[in-house]
Symmetry: C2
Subunit: 296 residues, 2 copies
Amino acid sequence: MQIISTITALRHRLRDEESVAFVPTMGNLHEGHLDLVRVAREHGRCVVVSIFVNPLQFGVNEDFSKYPRTLEQDCKLLEQCGVDVVFAPSEQDLYTQPQQVMVDPPAIANELCGAFRSGHFRGVATVVLKLFNIVQPQVAVFGKKDYQQLHIVRQIVAQLNLPIEIIGSETVRAADGLALSSRNQYLNPTERTEAAFLCRTLANMGKAMRDQAALNQAKLNQAKLNNLRDFSSLEQEARDTLNARGWKVEYIAIRCSSTLLPLTAGDKDVVILAAAWLGKTRLIDNLEMNLQDGLS
Amino acid sequence: MQIISTITALRHRLRDEESVAFVPTMGNLHEGHLDLVRVAREHGRCVVVSIFVNPLQFGVNEDFSKYPRTLEQDCKLLEQCGVDVVFAPSEQDLYTQPQQVMVDPPAIANELCGAFRSGHFRGVATVVLKLFNIVQPQVAVFGKKDYQQLHIVRQIVAQLNLPIEIIGSETVRAADGLALSSRNQYLNPTERTEAAFLCRTLANMGKAMRDQAALNQAKLNQAKLNNLRDFSSLEQEARDTLNARGWKVEYIAIRCSSTLLPLTAGDKDVVILAAAWLGKTRLIDNLEMNLQDGLS
């Protein structure tokens, strides 16, 4: 495995590679990242993992400076996973000049997480495009845990005509269901126990949606409109429950999984997305589901 | 020469090309475009010319609908110039969905032409990036006549880390000095005669700058500050002269040629840029010069 820190050296290294699969990360790797690497290995002969904590995607009051940086440990893990190249550029190398050219993401970037993290997806979109242009992969793998990010990256690839296949990889979870995240280590032991309640809440919502859809189906044709109305009360209940347990919910939303827009009649593939603070830690999670399971 | 109208077919055609030189155009080709093609032929084994009138870069009151479309004639000219592939996509193919992902150009895009054509360079930046991603050239050639556009494209390439060499090609002029442009055909015969006064004005300004610089040099060290002050009065005189002859000047500006920012002490490579309306036709032109010629 080679560890490369400059754009020039990386381009030189990859010049003759015909098939590159790319996993962009901010380092501080856990089993979730390593799973992305395994997926990448199935799709490209040469697997490149970037490690770069991107200042552009952190808000002024966010955790850019304290975000954990563990390059040496990360490289050990990546070597064990059979990664070919780690690209760990300096901020100076990636932002040689103040970044003025930015990628404006689609409008959905202002909703959900974007409504609470102004400019976040603009920063993500810009660094992802820069990294794509540097690595020039045929395939790039992103985790479904950052569901909105994955959606936005897909939109960027489609609308900017990038010749890259984007693969969304399933979320890896702890034994109690908590989605793995570098930010989990900010949690104290009590918070860590409580944290799993987020994914349980989403699972409960999912079950309630299925039950409700099946019930409405029995009532025949007025079903769809009722579903939409009832689902919004499910969102509210979930918010109330979490807030009552001491969480500070940013959003819990049931959306169409292919557009991330609010459900409209006819939508079948849905995703429940949530972001909530537990103490000083912001956690996100989501659950995909197919409403036909309940409606059929 | 192949004429290709879909992205899929173009990608297929170019898949095994090792060296592609690209000339993006809006068609209605004249000798200026053909000169870009000649430059491209010196830089790539396979020359691709795109023809696409990009709606994103036209303002609501601009000439998108009446912009001359002459595909058949264009293709004849390009074949004579030894072009390998003409890429003439439909609007539907290039903008399959409403374009939400946009490239935000650098701040300079709001000055000069950008101050009068809101959103223009955002539209240019976005379509140029899309075309770059589709064609994936090693080299792309742009005319210096659209000087600010060339500057912005260079910034996009640098700041988004595109592996493309951008070549700026000299402006081709009519016998009387008028810069060739598809929009020149909007001029009536009287206007066409008057139109050459724009480049003569820039040439006169250039001469006056050299004279003044030489004169100030003789007065020794206070020279640079005087230059800056005096040059702004040259801009004003040129505006007044053109307006008095019936033009409507948008801007005439003496700028640093590498940043397009106003001159600061020490700048040597400068460019005089102008945009002005003659009747219903908007003309632009520019003149590069090196102030050391006068100062030495």
